[in-house]
């Protein structure tokens, strides 16, 4: 086969139709200006009470997943994955509503869960302290970085994470 007969190895460039651009206008009433952005941030802030309900629901699911793991129901892999999914959601939401400490603890828990390939008593203990830290944030409604209490919680969780490595 000559070079000319070979399938083209180079990339093919395609110009898609600009449908989105044709539907967007610049400026005028209803355009997103700084005031609109400020209003949108206010809408998020107004959902903070809803967030506390959401995170409590997530926490109940997290506790249930942990209880299932502790009871030896299902495989370790499935249980660790279930815990990861829930804590990943909790990590992703906290900061949007000013609960940065919840996001930080969720991040620590996700990092820990990623390193685990089994869920024996030692691993369960490590996971438990993260869940307990989340409980503190929820019950005390610790916003922002949680101040001294938040820093101490994170310091403790960092040590736990180091032990898991």
């Amino acid at each position: 086969m000559s070079d000319q007969q070979k399938p083209a190895a180079s990339s093919q460039i395609i110009r898609p139709p600009q449908t989105l651009q044709s539907k967007v206008e610049k400026g005028g009433p209803g355009a997103v200006d700084l005031d609109a952005l400020a209003r949108a941030e206010e809408v998020i802030a107004s959902l903070a009470d809803d967030y506390l309900k959401w995170v409590r629901d997530d926490f109940v699911r997290l506790e249930a997943a942990f209880a299932k793991m502790k009871a030896g129901e299902g495989s370790d892999k499935e249980n660790l994955e279930a815990l990861f999914q829930i804590s990943h959601d909790m990590k992703g939401q906290g900061g949007s509503f000013g609960y940065d400490l919840m996001t930080a603890i969720g991040d620590h828990l996700c990092r820990l869960l990623e390193t685990l390939d089994k869920a024996g008593p030692r691993e369960q203990g490590m996971i438990r302290v993260h869940i307990d830290a989340m409980r503190v944030v929820i019950t005390k409604e610790l916003k922002g970085d949680g101040g001294n209490e938040g820093r101490q919680l994170l310091m403790g969780l960092s040590l736990v994470g180091e032990k898991a490595k």
Partner: protein
């Protein structure tokens, strides 16, 4: 900041977490978007695309049974895809570099690190409006051109993605701050390669 009117755009939100869908929907409405459709997973979203003319998709990564990357690949390369060119914003808590590159290579336009804010979401939408990208079919890849910046006056060395990431600078929010994770600014630098 350029002010854009988003009221005529159709948004599809794909997330298995209804709280996250509610949050994104609330932000979009506050930004003047009128038409928002929600889907709980990638398979549902793909079905919705058959009759919903989405202009932008905001898609979570962690979903089951079809996760965000599977969904993006289906939209881009599925033989029955209703709209392979639709801009997709990947919304996720995964901010490690290898994850960002994986999302880019699946064919997403923009990457938005959780936790989100109205400002961050609008900046990604604005980027899609202001930087329409050609699509590329190269080997197994089909999606928006992964090299978005094309500066004809640039004469320097070709920087590669790892260099871009390390040069991305800090601040700017996003990311959980753990080692190996990127801030939103670093992600943008990486994707702008």
């Amino acid at each position: 900041m350029t002010d854009y009117n988003l009221s005529r755009l159709n948004f599809l939100i794909v997330d298995d977490n209804r709280h996250m869908r509610a949050l994104v929907k609330s932000i979009l409405h506050a930004l003047g978007v009128k038409s928002v459709l929600e889907a709980g997973d990638g398979a549902d979203a793909f079905k919705e695309l058959r009759h919903f003319p989405a202009d932008v998709i905001v898609c979570d990564w962690n979903m089951s049974p079809l996760d965000g990357l599977d969904f993006v690949r289906m939209v881009r390369t599925g033989s029955d895809s209703p709209n392979p060119f639709v801009p997709i914003i990947m919304l996720t808590g995964h901010t490690e570099m290898n994850r960002v590159m994986e999302a880019r290579d699946s064919g997403v336009h923009e990457f938005l690190a959780k936790p989100i804010s109205a400002k961050k979401l609008y900046s990604r939408i604005r980027s899609i409006i202001e930087n329409p990208r050609p699509f590329v079919r190269a080997g197994m890849y089909f999606g928006p051109d992964r090299r978005r910046k094309n500066n004809p006056n640039y004469n320097g060395a070709e920087r590669r993605k790892s260099e871009d990431a390390s040069a991305g600078g800090g601040g700017g929010g996003g990311g959980g701050g753990s080692a190996g994770e990127l801030s939103q600014d670093e992600i943008n630098a990486l994707l702008n390669g």
